[in-house]
Symmetry: C2
Subunit: 340 residues, 2 copies
Amino acid sequence: MERLPTVLDVGRVAGVSRQTVSNVLNSPEVVRPDTRARVEAAIAELGYRPHASARRLRTRRSSTIGIRLDPMANGISGSVHDRFLHSLTEQADSFGLRIMLFTALDPQDEIRQIRRMHEGSDVDAFVLTSTMFGDPRTEWLVEHGIPFVTFGRPWGIDDMNDPLHRWVDVDGHTGLRLATAHLLAEGERRIAYLGWPSPSGTGDDRRRGWRDEMERASGLSREELDRLDLRVDDGVAEGRETVREAIERGSRFDAIVCASDSLALGALLMVGPDIPVIGYDNTPVAQAVGMSSVEQPLDEVASGVLALIMRPEADVDDIGHRLIEPRLVIRHPRLRPELG
Amino acid sequence: MERLPTVLDVGRVAGVSRQTVSNVLNSPEVVRPDTRARVEAAIAELGYRPHASARRLRTRRSSTIGIRLDPMANGISGSVHDRFLHSLTEQADSFGLRIMLFTALDPQDEIRQIRRMHEGSDVDAFVLTSTMFGDPRTEWLVEHGIPFVTFGRPWGIDDMNDPLHRWVDVDGHTGLRLATAHLLAEGERRIAYLGWPSPSGTGDDRRRGWRDEMERASGLSREELDRLDLRVDDGVAEGRETVREAIERGSRFDAIVCASDSLALGALLMVGPDIPVIGYDNTPVAQAVGMSSVEQPLDEVASGVLALIMRPEADVDDIGHRLIEPRLVIRHPRLRPELG
């Protein structure tokens, strides 16, 4: 074959899954001896070398990381990606790494771009953002042995410890749990959640954080919590209208926690400063209007991503991911909605 | 000498200025024949080749542009740089160009980074932002014949048409003139300007736009205009306090035009929606709170920058810069300041 053998080829020859091959490579003690022997034979037969590119990365004098610049879909929440990029670029310098930017229309186009840059030896490793269920990009990168780290966990995959998929993420469940617990401690009880429709890896995780804390400590019934669970696509106008409709159909709530600052600003522009609203991402907008928000420590995300990119292959003692705790920033709004 | 001869070396040998050398190269008809002969002799003697790197850029299959990622000094206004970067990256792809990011502590450090990338042949041309009076970076790039284009005009230099300094900028004077004229047409008369202290190339240009329009059409005296000229460093809190102090010392105004959305939001949080406030940059914050603002057409800036980077050296008919008209976005604020 023209291309180098991949872990999928090894699996095919040995009659096992990619995960089993990866276990043989990284945690052989968990694999049955006869399976292990079969995989090792296939590795020898095909001449498979795990992550040849990763080794090349570490021997190059000056290396380059590729990252897709997310489209500016949402002016408020989009700034998270930009702030991550700032942290990544600043810290990359101290590792002797440079950042190459590119754009892509969709995941398939992103794969095409990655392939082109990798083949041209322009870029040694990739940082992927906005991971999704059944992500075709990570599957392809694993198969081609191209080093990568994702900001975002592998949603919908059982094995979060897959050594071939290194990732860094912020624990949104904990973020919403912290926000909800803070409001409960302040004496609020009927705390609504304003978030995105399911399924959404990130969104469902944040919703569960609110729900778990409410079930634990609010004393509200399941039915009451269902009514406080407001769902709409991201956006300021969307958040404002959804809260307005909930009020109009008689919902009462003492406070609102949100999946994003966009939704939170919409809620704030509806209910005003007397009902606490907590957003997510601690964007410049939240800081400017004095809105509480859950902050993603993007400096920590960037340093985690770089540490995992630079980590030697053989370092099996270190787990291949970092789940980072967000922190809650409490403020008091400096504005009232304009009536009418 | 070890390094390649530069236009400054040619000027030194011929006993003329850099500008004269550049005229001989680009518009020989404007140079006296004897001067021209002296410069041409110096060019031949030194073996000077204009913009060797630029020629290489056009012959390379895949080229790379370097750009410094501005530090995130200001969460609100900083988004302009990020939005420019998005436009640039998206459009660069259609030219077959890629974007390499780097960070720098100060202009001297930026020069060091540029030198390193240029010597390593990693990057073929550079885009500079945040031009300043006596900018050491552009002087250095011209001297070393490294292709570059600036987003921002060469402040404090008489010759805006220097063919060796290609630039794209947005006409802030026109932006503030448009904002002021709009408010005058709406019947407002005492329109204050909230901007940055002088000297600031960008800030002084915007202030003059307000002042020129007010002198033309408001009927207010010079002394009255002086009192309406409010100055403070950028920031939401700074804008709010400066407007508060002006009100406390008895200033009356019907409307406020500002040098930035940060200052404008501060003003809006002080005066509320009954006094029109117009910001500058049309940031996500302005969109979110319903604030009027002057928008910089960053897509046009990016396409101008790329066109100038790709332009053949010999194209002397085309001027080497683009001054782009901003546009005014009028909105009605959806918030009232929280009293107290």
